[in-house]
């Protein structure tokens, strides 16, 4: 029964190859996008740490996005 399912009446190669190509491509794009996102979060964190204490406080007071990015970055690290 499993052999029949894999063979798909002779079309198995085409069906499984199609699904595999879609799955692998989508997974590769997902992991690449995730890696880029993490890289930018990390770079933001590094850039933020170069600021003086006054600049840091001002950035956190004025930008909720900066607070959220830092919160996410600190969860990862």
């Amino acid at each position: 029964m499993i052999t029949e399912f894999i063979a798909m009446n002779g079309y198995g190669l085409y069906v499984w190859l199609s699904f595999s190509i879609v799955f692998i491509s989508c997974a590769a794009v997902y992991f690449k996008t995730k890696k880029t996102l993490r890289k930018y979060e990390q770079e933001f964190l590094t850039e933020f740490q170069t600021l003086s204490l006054e600049e840091k406080n001002r950035a956190l007071e004025n930008s909720k996005v900066a607070q959220q990015i830092l919160a996410t970055s600190s969860k990862i690290n």
Binding site: F5, M8, N9, G10, Y11, G12, Y14, V15, L17, S18, F19, I21, V22, S25, C26, V29, Y30, T33, K34, T36, L37, Y40, E41, E43, F44, E47, F48, L51, E55, R58, A59, N62, S63, K64, V65, A66, Q68, I69, T72
Partner: protein, 235 residues
């Protein structure tokens, strides 16, 4: 209303949506794959090769839909000069390219057992290849040009010219004699596809939509962080 569209609100919504999609994606994927590979019946002519439809059709639809949105936002950006549309387009384009390439490759894999050939210079296939080229040109503009204003102008021109190809893709099977079959699913009028195949197709479409939304949100979030990083000393 304007407060709702502030960058902090958008960022917070993006994070919530990413979490939500992550939580339901695998469940929907498993349901979709079960329907597509196990529960849906084989076609009476094409046999089990019809199962390729469950990845080919959603890929093609999303490839077309992404370019439609890019064109729409490019036109709106020309009129209203909303910078966010530029970042949205930059995030959508790679997703559209991915799905267009997948539609071409899976179409080729479906073509071999059905038509006896991997490729033919048929109107539908060629117009999809042209769409892929437009995506490549569009993405190259972002990679090769430096000035933002120039990027917006050139990319918008490419999107508007490329949009002429969208109705050609849609109606190519009706205007010319092609190897590709006519549309089985119609928005207006009755569809010729049986519900036993339509349901798995819709579930797989949902899987692809969720995936596309997830990648878009991650890319858009990256763009927000990139801008904030660039302007960190001005905050």
């Amino acid at each position: 209303m304007f407060k709702f569209f502030s960058s902090s609100n958008i960022y917070s919504i993006i994070q919530k949506l990413i979490k939500f999609i992550h939580s339901i994606f695998f469940l929907v994927l498993i349901i979709g794959l079960t329907f597509a590979l196990v529960l849906s019946p084989p076609d009476y002519i094409q046999g089990d090769s019809v199962r390729i439809m469950y990845v080919h059709v959603p890929s093609a639809w999303l490839g077309l839909a992404c370019f439609f949105f890019i064109t729409l936002l490019s036109i709106l950006n020309f009129i209203f000069k909303i910078k966010n549309f530029y970042f949205i387009n930059k995030s959508i384009a790679p997703i559209g390219l991915l799905f267009t390439c997948l539609a071409i490759v899976t179409g080729s894999l479906w073509g071999q057992p059905t038509w006896g050939t991997w490729w033919a210079w048929d109107a539908r296939l060629t117009s999809m290849l042209v769409l892929m080229l437009f995506y490549i040109f569009y993405i190259l503009v972002f990679k090769l040009l430096n000035k933002e204003e120039l990027i917006i102008k050139v990319s918008s021109i490419i999107a508007i010219i490329g949009s002429i190809n969208l109705p050609i893709i849609k109606y190519s099977v009706e205007w010319w004699t092609t190897l590709h079959q006519l549309s089985s699913i119609k928005i207006t009028g009755s569809s010729s596809i049986h519900s036993a195949m339509l349901l798995p197709l819709m579930v797989m479409l949902l899987v692809f939509l969720l995936y596309a939304a997830l990648i878009f949100l991650m890319k858009y979030k990256t763009e927000i962080i990139r801008i904030k990083k660039k302007n960190i000393k001005r905050i």
